[in-house]
Subunit: 225 residues, 2 copies
């Protein structure tokens, strides 16, 4: 599969490029506003991956860089890993360029930072995934990775241990994205309902940040038990 | 300590009475609308506990039954385990009867059941814990147990393995409730922010139900990892 990561030089995007690039045989295209920057980042990430890949990791697949617009042209999965403000407009602009059967993945969350814990910044659409879906009405949209901390994802020398809730209205799209997640060492895709349930999943992001601060831990994620 | 469980004959309330009754040395008062029913239930629960208590379980403490109003009279902790609709009015009615330093614990959640997963039914106050806090303005209110499935809690022959996020504005109240939780076999209290963060915690309830249905599991809870 060809997987485009929009915002692939950002915190979460970087982790996704690194994990998917090392642990799967897919072709990963790191998208960024600046194509040159994307290419340089892709080269650097590919080099870093080579150092940590063990015998169990596939040696096919690739990591390349491109502008956001170029990255989606023949993508099977487009992961939106940009900040919440520009995300819907970016997807709206790119939607006409997407292959008909491409799945769009929203990783987007908005957090209201507080002194005593963090709250969810509720978007008008009810969830960020719903806002993305409204911007790409002809494509199946799935929510995922909202509850995965970026730091441990990019730390390839450690194996994480996170469940990754996946929500969406298209069972095929949820399966495709869950499969991608399962291919990554230490990540498990867990179906968590329709796209309407994105709100419950997105609330995990501020919750996990609050728990981390209150318990003096970094990189807090979840497992369903 | 004396712990009153309002709605102690309901699903979650029953589990809390059983766990706290067996695993801690506290005096548990099962509150119900009907005092006679509460007394009968308390006797039955105490008997059930005796059968499963091992050498590590304290044999002091007690389980008694009373009307909701009688149960709170000298309580150190009042756990609100009634359905969302009557909860704020019940707390409003009982608040004048509470000892000055009693901590009120909201376990309340509202769920919008759907065919393809479940959503959070957002109350006007922003969270159910905030609605309870408005009904007991002179007492510290803590949110907890929203993400603990009732079935496994009441199944005393199995040891659960759940983290229990605890939110509240009073550090002392959060500590008191976290301590209660830690006293129960297999439960761990985890501070998760101020009372404003109750919204993020309450969203776990519909999320865990959706995950359970999509993955054909019952009694799904969480661990922070």
């Amino acid at each position: 599969m060809r997987v485009a990561i929009l915002g692939g030089t950002g915190g979460l995007g970087r982790g996704l490029v690194l994990r998917l690039g090392r642990d799967t045989a897919h072709d990963i295209v790191l998208g960024s506003r600046d194509g040159d920057r994307a290419e340089r980042a892709a080269d650097a990430f590919a080099e870093g991956i080579a150092d940590t890949a063990g015998p169990d990791h596939p040696d096919d697949g690739s990591i390349t860089g491109a502008t956001n617009a170029e990255s989606v042209g023949n993508a099977d999965v487009v992961v939106v890993a940009v900040p919440p403000e520009p995300a819907p407009d970016l997807v709206w602009d790119l939607a006409p360029l997407l292959p008909a059967d491409a799945v769009v993945v929203s990783t987007v969350v908005g957090i209201e930072m507080g002194d005593d814990g963090h709250a969810y910044r509720r978007p008008e659409a009810g969830s960020y995934a719903a806002a993305i879906a409204a911007a790409a009405p002809d494509h199946p949209v799935v929510g995922a990775f909202q509850a995965v901390p970026a730091g441990p994802l990019a730390a390839l020398d450690e194996i994480p241990n996170y469940d990754v809730p996946v929500v969406g209205d298209s069972p095929d799209a949820v399966d495709r994205v869950s499969g991608l997640i399962d291919d990554c060492d230490g990540l498990t895709g867990v179906p968590a309902g329709s796209l309407e349930c994105a709100t419950t999943v997105e609330h995990l992001a501020p919750l996990l940040m609050s728990v981390g601060e209150r318990t003096d831990r970094s990189g807090v994620g979840i497992r369903f038990v």
